[in-house]
Symmetry: C3
Subunit: 138 residues, 3 copies
């Protein structure tokens, strides 16, 4: 069994953003030499997400509005977590969008349907944060 | 290490449905010959889900009502993604219900609790769509 | 390839609770002898969750309030599932918080960011329930 590990680093300038990280994950897969197996891609922070969806800017705007409706940032004092913090909403948004994705590797490629892309979802940006890529297989 | 791959195809007539796919996944596991390992089951489309829950029609009705409340289909013009599309809500419902599940394989069986069943969740039906089953182990 | 399996048992006295199970999962990893691989940790019941987030009591209070807003327990008669049951809301809360997490194993350790902790989320307690830990790797 082969295994491979890499950290991808991000620094999103504002509070929230969606970043397509499919090219970086594909590069990791090439470096791993794994032909059949599984790729785990997960946020290493608890106020950000890794998820699979469409690379379409209108949809990303819709996600932003929708997540803000389901888990509003303000007023920050509505959350007990916000003592010296203001990111409780980010911990909630991350639960809806998810921590991780597991993707199949087949014949050395990410085994994806036609529109699947991997995103880093940042909900509490403005600092350097990490995503872990772990690949196991043969 | 053994690996196995199969696509399951679905065509749901209406817009939304929940389909119990546990028998098909179990059949895949038998075909794979894997006794110890992991099964990944994921939607290959970004407007549908794979998730584990109860096979109970009342609950499925409740999910339908609940998801429509959290991410309403209409009015379609409320979503920027809906330019030549009307499925933005399906991209949101899928995030709540999830893209994938990873299930343990022990002694050649799906290692499930008493009520766990695997479902395909369709939120934008009326066309042929796929689920990927990938199994690795020994 | 090595594989390891253990069930963790819980009996939460009230209806809902979040329990940090990271020490137990770490103990499983030590017992497994796996140095490189993946750990799957999943609820074996469909009214509870396994998820990764922060071990901070204010945040857990915020999650409780937030989940109750998104999927209220009462009135129980609003859900068709609640015929001889009163736990339909627990099936919904579990979908938001998730069934499972997959964690990378690197050099014999859970490969975590600085604040990641694994939680059992109970939404329908008062009875003995289980979490499955499955580890594969080398």
């Amino acid at each position: 069994m082969k295994s491979y590990r890499k950290e991808l680093w991000f620094e999103v300038p504002g509070r929230r953003a969606f970043v397509n990280i499919t090219p970086q994950v594909r590069q990791c897969l090439r470096e791993s030499g794994v032909r059949e197996g599984l790729v785990l891609v997960n946020a290493m922070h608890i106020t950000s997400s890794v998820f699979v969806n469409d690379d379409e800017s209108g949809l990303h705007h819709d996600y932003e509005v929708w997540l803000e409706k389901l888990a509003p940032h303000a007023p920050v004092a509505q959350y007990r977590h916000n003592v010296g913090e203001d990111n409780a909403d980010a911990h909630m948004k991350r639960q809806i969008m998810g921590r991780e994705t597991v993707v199949a590797v087949t014949a050395g490629e990410l085994d994806f349907g036609p529109w699947e892309q991997i995103f880093y979802g940042e909900f509490d940006g403005g600092r350097r944060k990490r995503v872990l890529v772990k690949i196991i297989g043969e």
